[in-house]
Subunit: 333 residues, 2 copies
């Protein structure tokens, strides 16, 4: 394999997908990995869900959260999206020589608070230190184990007519992180949505087979996550732009920065695809959770234009939403 | 908490222990974490073992292995030391912008080969990219799940008279890594012992309660791992220097570099403490595995000098072996 890793490979978009599909999945081939869900349902028995994420967000502290809270919520959410009730986490840190112990304490206290709130135990961990200039302050990896409560969640179950639900406003986390790097812009007006979603997800499991699939649209945003659902599938997902909740501050900031909230990361939102008859129940379930109070149906699965994600715009036009290409938002998680 | 992280906090020695004991364990308090084993036996049911390690070794490729093989063997060994049969791994990479794709392919191919040899499946993962100068080429985290085959392994079970067994020569990995950074010294003569130990460990489980505890002496080496056994315990571990196998090349290199092989890391060796009547069986079991063919009884548990690790030297003297203090060997794993 020739060439070099670029920031694009970490975007969560096209080049990340290519790296995973062309290098990683063939090397480690097994069904659980190839499913490429947010977490893996362990084969044989099939009662456990396993997931991992490394967090390299910069800055470490941002409005609405920090790398500690994010590293717990991120893995808790991945387990929940895979149908699991989160139980146990590992937490592994790589720290740069010279990092302030007080900041480490703040980050780990925040992670501990988030774990307690989520009802998960951090049962194992690891600590490494590297020389100055050899990492960027602090990186955290968490891995998580959950008990499988909702087997069979898969984008393969989506049928034309199904509804796409987003649990709240799009793009809050990515936009807040970018703004926090440019404090001269709108300082303090936007906040990350970083939050655990496992309780909302667990309530959705009660929908049974009418719940087709769940995903938390992190890197690459709503547009990229939905493209993962439609890729090589016999359906399209057609979104109504007017139905997609976007915080006015996020919209203004995205306009200023030349960004699209549909490609900006979320850390406290989920996408659910449900059978049409379950859409109203799903909305009620979600809206009973504070983090999901602005849940909305944002689109429908259709048989035309199979494999595509299409946006019907406010002005009556329509355009294809591709996966994120390029590293539009480096290090937002 | 005041002050700053230093390289010492990553040594695996005293300051690493202090950071874990004073900051991390109190924050996340639960029994599984507080046991501070190589892996955690999950509470409630108690049929699973969970472990994680981040790998920041430099150089990425070294005689006898590379960061890919190391990251699989390291977690496989941690699970085995905790009494688990390794089953599933997660693998998460943090890559520096500009890293050669060919090197990534070599590393991941090596990890995939090691996983296949160990009979474990890499079922989930994550890929992050950071800007040039914000990490050092490639860091890998693995987490692993094993099924508990040997419950109750604990240094609390050690009794006076028990024998300490080391599965082979001490200090090969750490010394090989240090030499590989100074190729003008003895280039090519030493090789890391990086190897999976789960099969040897599983055979030792057949000893039943006569097998008290297992540990792979990685960072901080044999001396530090044994100190973890004796800390606040009513026994000492007394080692016979003449019985401790050390490769002649490692001894020469350590003499040259002013190092002690008992504090140098191992990545393919285990320490087992066994009841005296089981010592001969344990040696036979270990020696049937190529990676453990030089297994030897290196010491005995005694009731005098409780809490200490003591070395009886070749010249008839004796000295206390403390935990590693300071960052004698940065980034060897």
């Amino acid at each position: 394999m020739e060439g070099f890793i670029t920031m694009d490979h970490g975007s969560g978009g096209k080049k990340t997908a290519a790296l995973i599909d062309e290098l990683i999945v063939p090397l480690f081939r097994n069904e659980a990995l190839a499913a490429l869900g947010d977490g893996a349902v362990l084969p044989g028995g099939g009662t456990l869900v396993f997931s991992t994420d490394s967090f390299v967000v910069t800055p470490l502290f941002f409005p609405g959260g920090d790398i500690g809270k994010l590293s717990v919520c991120g893995t808790v959410n991945d387990l929940a999206m895979a149908g699991g009730i989160p139980r146990y986490l590992s937490l592994s840190i790589i720290i740069e020589d010279g990092f302030p112990l007080g900041d480490l304490e703040r980050v780990l206290s925040s992670a501990a608070r988030a774990a307690a709130e989520c009802g998960v135990s951090v049962v194992t961990g690891d600590t490494k230190v590297v020389e100055r200039g050899h990492c960027d302050g602090l990186f955290i990896n968490t891995a998580g184990i959950g008990t499988l409560a909702c087997p069979g969640l898969s984008s393969s179950s989506i049928r034309p007519g199904d509804r796409v639900i987003l649990s709240g406003t799009a793009g809050d986390h990515g936009t807040a992180i970018l703004l926090s790097r440019s404090p001269e812009l709108l300082e303090g007006t936007l906040s990350s949505d970083c939050a655990p979603l496992h309780r909302a997800a667990a309530d959705l499991y009660s929908l049974g087979p009418a719940l087709r699939v769940l995903r938390d649209p992190t890197r690459g945003g709503v547009a990229t996550a939905l493209n993962e659902f439609t890729e090589e599938k016999p359906f399209s997902l057609v979104l109504e732009e007017a139905s997609i909740p976007v915080d006015p501050g996020v919209r203004t900031a995205c306009d200023l920065l030349g960004l699209d909230p549909l490609y900006a990361a979320n850390e406290g939102k989920l996408l659910a695809v449900v059978a049409p008859e379950a859409a109203e129940s799903a909305l009620q379930i979600l809206r009973s959770h504070p983090a999901c109070c602005r849940a909305a149906v944002i689109g429908t699965a259709e048989s035309d234009h199979a494999g595509r994600v299409i946006l019907r715009t406010r002005t009556g036009g329509s355009r294809i939403l591709q996966r994120l290409s390029g590293a539009q938002y480096p290090r937002i998680c």
